[in-house]
């Protein structure tokens, strides 16, 4: 069941986007890969290490694990690349959504317990295994002193983050919200994906991070994003489901011309964010979805959940005045 219309919480404007994905880091390179339909052939779909190396933050991120680095890289790009120059007066919010959090660092801490004993495991591994470590790095790197929240969800975390960001903007608690989703594909998770999924589902394990800088809605020249009020139809319906649903005959789905970006980004607890990235690039005219064949102005991103519910995000272009 999708969320009902809520007049008190308007859509938000997307002022900046940052991402690190299996097909690139810059929006230009990602858009080119999507436009050229350069789906990845390897599995799993991992982010290249060199995309995370950044000379300006290397020292401050030297203790951070890969998960926090994925998040910090995407968040920094979404913040520094945001339109509409802005000074933080302590009212910029940060929201990080994740499914499995810094699980690789958690298992490294467990290694310490098993190898060295309970009292002698490495404290740095413990402190970096806490879910809000990414938000801590982001706020420290960017000097953001507003509120911060980390959310855990295996499927709809990015939807929840957008909803919370809209609430913070609507209540005036924040003037900007930097939010996103991040998940890392570690060895244990890959092991579990192999044991817990049906090969017929063609699950393609992936990883990545997507962050957006949101401001109040209605800013011209930006895309609008909404987790609450979903139109019945749009130019594009991006479906975040296992690829088995997209082979053979196109599915019959209400809402728009169907598409999925799963072959580029893979499946992860953050794949809703990555699908939204593809839709955002399409709505902002950075690429044209091949099966639509024309620039699009609106999209719905839909994720069907394990329990039968689904969540949706609506995107719409707001042309410059």
């Amino acid at each position: 069941m999708s969320e009902p219309t809520c007049q008190a919480v308007p859509p938000a404007s997307v002022l900046g986007v940052g991402a690190v994905t299996p097909i690139g880091r810059t929006l230009e390179s990602i858009a080119v890969a999507l436009a050229e339909r350069a789906a990845q052939s390897q599995s799993p779909l991992l982010v290249a290490d060199e995309l995370l190396s950044d000379a300006t933050t290397a020292r401050r991120m030297r203790r951070a694990g890969r998960w926090a680095s994925l998040a910090a890289t995407a968040a920094t790009d979404a913040w520094t690349g945001a339109q509409h120059a802005f000074h933080d007066d302590g009212d910029v919010g940060v929201i990080v959504a994740t499914g499995f959090g810094p699980h690789v660092r958690t298992f490294r801490f467990l290694d310490g317990i098993l190898d060295c004993g309970d009292a002698s495991a490495l404290p740095t591994d413990f402190s970096h295994s806490v879910h809000n470590v990414a938000a801590a790095y982001i706020t420290e790197l960017l000097g953001l002193r507003g509120r911060s929240c980390t959310l855990a969800d295996f499927e709809a975390g990015f939807h929840q983050a957008v909803l919370l960001g809209q609430c913070w903007l609507a209540e005036g608690a924040c003037s900007r919200v930097l939010l996103g989703a991040v998940d890392e594909l570690g060895e244990v998770l890959l092991h579990l994906a192999g044991r817990m999924t049906d090969p017929a589902d063609r699950v393609l394990p992936g990883e990545g991070a997507v962050f957006v800088t949101l401001g109040k809605g209605g800013i011209s020249g930006t895309a609008q994003i909404d987790a609450l009020s979903i139109p019945t139809h749009s130019d594009l319906l991006v479906v975040d489901e296992p690829p088995m649903h997209h082979h053979g005959a196109p599915p019959t789905i209400d809402g728009g011309t169907p598409a999925t970006f799963t072959p580029y980004f893979g499946h992860s607890a953050s794949s809703l964010a990555l699908q939204t990235l593809g839709a955002l690039l399409a709505v902002s005219k950075r690429f044209t979805p091949a099966n639509v064949g024309r620039p699009i102005d609106s999209a719905i991103v839909r994720r069907r959940l394990w329990n039968g519910r689904h969540v949706e995000l609506a995107l719409a272009a707001r042309p410059s005045c």
Binding site: M1, E3, P4, C6, Q7, A8, V9, G90, G101, H103, T106, F107, F109, L110, D111, I113, L114, G117, D118, A119, S120, A121, L122, P123, F126, S127, S129, H131, N132, V133, A135, A136, Y137, T139, E140, G143, L144, R145, G146, R147, S148, C149, T150, L151, A152, D153, F154, Q160, L163, L164, C167, A170, E171, A173, V188, R195, M196, L228, N307, R309
Partner: protein
């Protein structure tokens, strides 16, 4: 195990600690929940954190006069945790590391224990649902978010709070950080030397005035204000001047539209660590004055991590309701580095407002102002 027995224990100043109820080489007191937790029918592989949460939710719903929710009531669920968000089962990982194919029970338990999702599905409600994992401020943040949902009309009722179970992994983690005491903790005391871990859950049922009126239920309390702020300073240490905490308290006071003098008492985070208590005590004394009635309840519960904010919100509300607050367990001698002395005996209060504060790993800070309206 419930509000009534908890009040009795608080009044008597009882501290029910024990050694860890699992294998560990660490010798430090912990605060387990005593008694049998309720079964969850139809749910295999239930995590203890989820069971703790449901015990608190059932009691909260009962006290709100809500046996179940009708289809015409939109209900949100926002719960904080730390343990339930981590796949950190040691037996599973030991066997995996040895090259085996460990049973997946621990993984299923983990996947079924996302508090927001699991509770909303069990209650069969379809409002917004979230699991907040802001370390030690998770429960307070969850209540603040849920209150916002109700104000904005996203739901009529919200179930909000936090839960966490005792676990070997955070025990090892806090020990490795050197912030645990090997004796009973003594928040804000001159001789404080660290925290104790505990477990538990604390949950509030929030409801819009319109919804309560429709079902003829009188609301006696309200979430008057919530604020949060980041230190943007250090992963594990608070900002030396408590920058984020100050911002959180100021924001909560602004939203409540009250002055510091309107606050009757402070339920402080008060972990018993050197840094937390020094910074928090300084900020509280600066904002509310050194004579503010203050206490930490962690001397009774231990630090329940993601559950702490929920539990302490319940304690704060009980203080407003009962007209007294307990002694700050473990406090005996005023600390030379803290300009604030918590209460050393149960104390009557007659307050309309009280505040509960939370500080967390990662520089998260949160403040929740509760108001007695009847």
């Amino acid at each position: 195990m419930d509000v009534a027995s908890t009040l009795t224990s608080l009044r008597a100043g009882q501290r029910y600690s024990s050694q860890a109820p699992f294998e560990t080489s660490i010798t430090a007191p912990v605060f387990p929940v005593r008694g049998q937790l309720p079964e969850l029918p139809g749910l295999r592989n239930s995590s203890r954190t989820l069971l703790l949460a449901m015990a608190a939710i059932n009691e909260a719903m009962s006290s709100a006069g809500l046996a179940r929710f009708g289809h015409d009531v939109r209900v949100g669920v926002c719960l904080g945790t730390t343990i339930a968000s981590q796949l950190n089962n040691l037996p599973f990982y030991r066997e995996y590391r040895a090259g085996g194919q460990p049973p997946l029970d621990a993984v299923h338990e983990f996947l079924n224990a996302n508090l927001g999702e699991a509770v909303a599905d069990m209650l069969q409600v379809d409002g917004p649902r979230m699991t907040v994992v802001n370390a030690c401020s998770s429960g307070t943040d969850a209540i603040g978010i849920a209150a916002s949902w109700v104000r904005l009309g996203l739901c009529d009722v919200a179930i909000a709070g936090g839960a966490d179970e005792l676990s070997r992994v955070p025990l090892a983690g806090f020990w490795s950080l050197g912030v645990m005491s090997s004796k009973l903790c003594s928040p804000f005391d001159q001789d404080r030397d660290g925290l104790n871990l505990g477990e538990g859950a604390g949950v509030l049922v929030l409801e819009s005035a319109e919804s309560a009126t429709r079902r003829g239920h009188a609301l006696a309390f309200e979430v008057a204000g919530f604020g949060a702020g980041c230190d943007a300073h250090h992963l594990t240490a608070p900002h030396p001047e408590g920058r984020g905490l100050r911002a959180a308290i100021d924001a909560a006071l602004r939203q409540a539209e009250i002055e510091p003098a309107d606050i009757g008492f402070v339920n402080a985070h008060g972990t018993g660590t050197l840094d937390n208590d020094r910074v928090e005590g300084a900020v509280l004394a600066k904002v509310f004055g050194p004579g503010i009635k203050a206490l930490s309840t962690k001397g009774y519960t231990g630090h329940t991590l993601g559950g702490a904010g929920g539990i302490e919100a319940v304690f704060t509300l009980l203080g407003l309701r009962e007209g007294w607050i307990p002694a700050s367990a473990g406090f005996a001698v005023a600390a030379s580095d803290i300009p604030l002395q918590p209460l050393s005996k149960p104390t009557p209060i007659a307050a309309e407002y009280a505040i509960s504060t939370s500080l967390a790993f990662g520089g998260n800070n949160a403040a929740l102002i509760l108001r007695r309206t009847a």
